[in-house]
């Protein structure tokens, strides 16, 4: 099979970009979408044209690096998979495929299809953790966790931080991402002490990074390669409301008689 590619090319963060069209060489339908891009790139390079920059690493749907919008959909036509798990058998001979980067104000373009998603890390730095100094943990089986809670926490923890939810949302909101992180930790007994502090800090950082508001259109859930449920957003909203009610903890003066 052969396809025609309409690809976003942009030299760097500050240059304007444009679509360019390329004809693929003969392809095999068992190729992955990224292997198709490899083949196209080798051909471009052999002609002395700069290859299309695209992000990828594990190529098995777990690192969250790959990030193409394919025919208008982040991660392409199928539900529950990442770009790297999209195969050419999903397209037909002669198709035109439009390939763009994940677009959002908080994700500046680095080059072509590669965007900078460090804003998501900064949300994590603000509070996406349980504070436990190395070596201070009790025996792992000392706190049983009901299987249902553990399984639900695991559902949320599957998020691969790819940012497809942001790219799919008309408001470029990062709510599904933050909700997944907040819910994963907030569902476990270990996560309780910092539960409300965490949600407030992460939401504040999300706002500061310029992600939009959530209007619950559900487009995020539809493109999530790990099919993270919208329910987690509702859960986070509840936690956030409680956190606001609780207000900031009063500082208690330290020291002591010693």
């Amino acid at each position: 099979m052969k396809v025609k590619l309409k690809v976003w090319r942009q030299k760097d963060r500050n240059s304007p970009g444009e679509f360019k069209t390329y004809e693929s060489p003969a392809l095999n339908e068992n190729m992955s979408f990224l292997e198709m891009l490899d083949v196209v790139n080798e051909e471009l390079a052999n002609k002395g044209e700069e290859p299309i920059a695209f992000d990828h690493d594990c190529r098995e749907g777990i690192c969250g690096t790959c990030s193409c919008v394919i025919n208008g959909k982040p991660h392409g036509p199928h539900r529950g998979v990442a770009t790297c798990q999209t195969y050419m058998r999903s397209f037909k001979d002669g198709d035109t495929i439009v390939v763009e980067p994940f677009r959002a104000k908080a994700f500046p373009i680095i080059k072509d299809l590669v965007v900078d998603r460090k804003a998501l890390d900064r949300i994590q730095f603000a509070g996406g953790f349980i504070s436990v100094r190395t070596g201070s943990a009790p025996d792992a089986n000392s706190i049983p966790v009901p299987k249902e809670n553990a399984d639900l926490a695991m559902d949320a923890a599957q998020c691969i931080q790819c940012g497809a939810c942001v790219a799919a949302c008309k408001n470029a909101s990062a709510m599904l991402f933050v909700a997944a992180k907040v819910s994963h930790l907030g569902l476990l007994p270990q996560g309780q002490p910092e539960r409300y502090k965490r949600v407030k800090a992460m939401v504040a950082q999300m706002d500061a990074e310029g992600f939009g508001a959530c209007t619950v259109t559900g487009s995020c859930e539809a493109v999530c390669p790990k099919e993270i449920s919208l329910d987690f957003i509702a859960r986070m909203n509840r936690d956030y409301a409680v956190a606001l009610l609780k207000g900031d903890p009063k500082p208690i003066s330290g020291g002591g008689a010693g």
């Binding site: 190729m31 083949v39 690493d57 792992a140």
Partner: protein, 653 residues
């Protein structure tokens, strides 16, 4: 010659680590912040180390070539992590995990390191659970376990099919807290391209910013490399595409010895190669062998039949037949070689004949489809996406693929290289797995090194360095290293040849797989060495790298990494050539058991199993750079002394 001293503390093995920690020099809290430590890498080893060192009060700078610490290749681990918790009450203990790992490594690992790893394993699980790692649990709320190859107990902890991501998210969250608190400075899209050595000590690195191309110098009191394995020298592997050897290779060229480079692990259960365009091979977790049965047809003529048309009596469940005690859970090296053997006999399945079946029909009948789905659902889904086949209905097709490198930079008991001040953790070092790593033990080692071992051992070195006296970045050694990096970049960009870097990588991969893969022999290795040298020469004449130095340039990044693979590949072949024995993953065709050997007649091993030569090769081969790639590297030997476990024939029958 380098000086190799393993620095293993004296005393009974079970007390060495405790005693060591008691004897080691401590640094007072006020002085800790005067020491700056560079940690390169944020996989399980790097992020756990960076977070823990920062908690202790050191100034930590962390570098990754990825856009985020959470994307390190550790994220891709599927199956699980071992620990001697004995929560199943099935007879596990620190001693047993230690023994299994030594035996699994075919008596080519250092005893004291392995014992420490087994001791620390229990603390790792505690730490991870406290961080919120959602390990699988039983209905009563306690942690669940599964079995992995090379063990007869259930000691593997797991989180669905994505244990690596969950453990990494745990370590990343610890790191995130420290970054948020300003205790770790995190550099992302930052690739280390050289190690700076001042007066024989590692004191800094040279880094390229992948977004802007800017080259910068960074000094430190100690440098920690946790940069992962080098299996991508084979081009096709289960590694992430970005995994590479540049950090450790350039450290090697600055004087760090490279331990056992030829020890590579070929994993038995991967999806077979389907075409020349292929960019990576996908692992199907070893955990599948808990319930899946491996077989090929007994008769060659059945190979092209549909598996469901081959009756039970015409199937050869060869692992169960050959290794009855461990069956489908035979260790990786053994299972891989057995697969190769049956395919070489012409009994392989699939289009290429390079494949065997992994069949779940029995498990589905025994447990029900929903239980199998609960255990392995995401792996079956992954298999379906790639092959378009439904493994609930028809057996999976699998074949061995390059998966892990047991070799790496040589380190002593402190995890310090022969270059003082250079520490190496995780898959990047050579230390704990001997000639074959058992499943679920790499995650354990990475976290053991990073959370518990390095934070205790690094103070011994730092105590010997005056606080606040690290060399400045205007030192001559920094200047020279930066020039070296600039020159490599210039050379690649100005070469203007005719071939893409990727085409060389593919070619190198084929040479390595052919001559330094699952089976090796003298003539092949000699040929491989010549072909690699010729390919390297052509590379520097004919490679073409487009674009510029001062921009995002993936071709340039890759070109530098491939240049290093072209040198490392040769060293691997040299190591494999010099090691005239078979052990673990290193199978020299000249050294295997035959039906005439007493061990075969006693039923300990099968004909074709690896034959060690302890009299001549019970040592770590630590190769030292001779100052130029054209000069033969220098071989240093660290003898392996077994005081606890008797070196015996490795039997899984």
């Amino acid at each position: 010659m380098a000086t190799l001293n393993s620095n293993v503390p004296s005393g009974p093995i079970a007390q060495k680590w405790e005693q060591y920690k008691f004897n080691t020099k401590l640094i007072n809290p006020a002085n800790k912040r005067k020491y700056k430590i560079i940690v390169v890498g944020a996989g399980l080893a790097g992020s756990s180390a960076a977070a823990t060192l920062a908690e202790l009060g050191y100034e930590v700078h962390n570098f990754v070539f990825h856009d985020s610490p959470r994307r390190a290749h550790s994220v891709a681990a599927q199956g699980g992590i071992n620990a001697a918790k004995n929560y199943q009450n099935d007879g596990d203990s620190v001693r047993r995990l230690f023994y299994d790992t030594i035996k699994g490594g075919d008596f080519r690992a250092r005893e004291a390191n392995v014992h420490r790893l087994a001791e620390v394993s229990v603390n790792i699980i505690d730490q991870c659970v406290a961080q919120g790692v959602p390990f699988a649990r039983e209905y009563g709320g306690l942690l669940d376990n599964r079995s992995f190859g090379g063990a007869q107990v259930s000691r593997t902890f797991y989180a669905r099919g994505q244990t690596g991501q969950q453990l990494l998210l745990g370590a990343y969250s610890a790191l995130a807290k420290m970054i948020g608190a300003g205790a770790v400075k995190s550099y992302t899209h930052a690739e280390m391209l050289d190690l700076v050595v001042v007066d024989g000590h590692a004191k800094g690195i040279i880094v390229r910013n992948l977004q802007t191309g800017e080259i910068t110098r960074h000094n430190a009191d100690a440098v920690v490399l946790a940069t992962g394995g080098y299996g991508n020298v084979y081009n096709l592997s289960t590694y992430a595409r970005g995994s590479n050897a540049t950090a450790i290779w350039r450290a090697y060229k600055r004087g760090a010895c490279f331990g056992n480079p030829c020890y590579t692990q070929i994993h038995p259960t991967c999806i077979p190669v389907s075409g020349d365009y292929q960019s990576k091979l996908t692992l199907m977790s070893e955990s599948l062998r808990n319930d899946g049965r491996v077989w090929v047809p007994k008769k060659k003529e059945d190979c092209k039949k549909r598996p469901q048309d081959i009756p039970e009596e015409d199937r050869d469940y060869y692992l169960e037949r050959m290794y009855s005690a461990f069956g489908n859970l035979a260790p990786r090296d053994i299972a891989s070689r057995a697969a190769k053997m049956v395919c070489d006999e012409g009994r392989g399945i699939g289009e290429t004949g390079l494949g065997v079946y992994l069949d779940f029909a029995d498990a589905i009948q025994r447990l029900g489809e929903s239980k199998v789905r609960e255990r392995y659902g995401n792996l079956f889904a992954m298999y379906h996406e790639i092959t378009n086949e439904d493994a609930y209905r028809t057996p999976m097709r699998i074949y061995p693929a390059v998966h892990y490198t047991m070799g790496g930079l040589w380190v002593d008991y402190n995890l310090m290289s022969n270059l003082p001040g250079l520490f190496v953790l995780g898959e990047a070092n050579f230390s704990d797995h001997g000639a074959n790593r058992l499943g679920a033990s790499a995650l354990m080692q990475g976290l053991s090194d990073g959370y518990f071992v390095l934070p205790a051992t690094i103070s011994g070195y730092l105590a010997s360095q005056n606080p606040g006296k690290r060399p400045k970045t205007d030192h001559e050694s920094f200047k020279e290293a930066e020039e070296n990096v600039q020159n490599i970049t210039k050379k690649l960009l100005n070469n203007k040849g005719k071939r893409t870097p990727a085409s060389f990588h593919k070619q190198l991969g084929k040479i390595m797989w052919e001559y330094c893969g699952m089976a090796r022999n003298k003539a092949g290795l000699e040929k491989g060495i010549k072909e690699i040298a010729a390919l390297r020469e052509e590379y520097w004449k004919n490679v073409n790298v487009l674009g510029g130095a001062g921009e995002w340039n993936q071709q340039l990044e890759n070109a530098g990494r491939i240049a290093d693979f072209l040198e490392l590949g040769e060293l691997m072949c040299r190591d494999a050539l010099h090691r005239e024995e078979s052990c673990g993953g290193h199978f020299r065709e000249e050294y295997q058991y035959t039906k005439d050997d007493p061990e075969v007649q006693q039923g300990l091993v099968n004909p074709g199993d690896v034959k060690r030569r302890d009299d001549a090769f019970a040592y770590v081969a630590a190769w030292e750079y001779a100052g130029s790639v054209d000069k033969a590297p220098i071989l240093n030997k660290e003898p392996l002394v077994y005081e606890e476990v008797h070196m015996s024939t490795r039997s899984y029958k």
